[in-house]
């Protein structure tokens, strides 16, 4: 596709439920990032993949958060036992080269609401 695609656009989960958020990066992009954006705040870095390798997961807030990119293209962010504080927009971004100082293209995000 022409841009980064994320699905679903909206997700409502009951507290304690597991959720999976999908990201389709731009074809050929080596780098893939996940960010969390709370209401009225800037995006916060969660994790980074270079192809299929997860090179940085320093931003994941707890061990309930897990991300994978098994074939170096599509990525899934999974949140287990969701809590209300997990409510946010989850953004995926990709870039053509390795990460630092290159343009990152963002998807529209998945808005997660935990009730």
């Amino acid at each position: 596709g022409a841009g980064v695609s994320q699905s679903p656009r909206y997700k409502v989960a009951k507290r304690g439920q597991d959720v999976a958020l999908r990201c389709d990066p731009i074809s050929g992009h080596v780098s893939l990032f996940w960010y969390q954006q709370a209401l009225g705040q800037g995006p916060e870095f969660l994790t980074y993949f270079q192809n299929e390798a997860q090179l940085d997961k320093s931003g994941l807030p707890s061990d309930r958060f897990f991300a994978e990119r098994p074939e170096g293209s599509v990525s899934t962010l999974k949140i287990q036992r969701t809590q209300q504080e997990d409510s946010a927009v989850y953004l995926c971004a990709s870039s053509f080269r390795t990460p630092r100082g290159t343009e990152a293209f963002f998807g529209q995000g998945t808005r997660l609401t935990v009730v």
Binding site: F33, Q41, G42, P99, E103, F105, F106, Q108, G109
Partner: protein, 114 residues
């Protein structure tokens, strides 16, 4: 610890005026400074970016001014238009160390009055 401080939080400018948003940072390892524009319900989109080897970069109506010694950079939007109404984020990326993702400011909600 907030590594990139952005101000103001909100800004109202008349059509045709100049919008100015400021950011300050502390980490001297930062060496790439992009500005992103975000409309409601959309992801951030890159507007313009600068590296610290230049003091100014201009693209159309958008200009970044960079002051390395003060560790500050700003976005100027000339001839502001109602279509520029959006949330703007400054960000920074270190050349080494730290996380592999961008560090964002908290954002500025810009409203351009017609």
């Amino acid at each position: 610890q907030q590594q990139v401080k952005q101000s103001p939080q909100s800004l109202i400018v008349q059509k045709g005026g100049i919008s100015i948003i400021n950011c300050a940072y502390e980490n001297t390892a930062f060496d790439y400074f992009p500005w992103y524009q975000q409309f409601p319900g959309k992801g951030p989109a890159l507007l313009i970016a600068i590296r610290p080897d230049v003091s100014e970069k201009k693209e159309g109506r958008f200009t970044i001014s960079f002051n390395k010694s003060a560790k500050q950079f700003s976005l100027h939007i000339m001839d502001s238009q109602p279509g520029d109404s959006a949330t703007y984020f400054c960000a920074a990326w270190p050349a080494w160390g730290g996380a592999d993702g961008l560090t964002f400011g908290k954002g500025t909600h810009l409203i351009i009055h017609p």
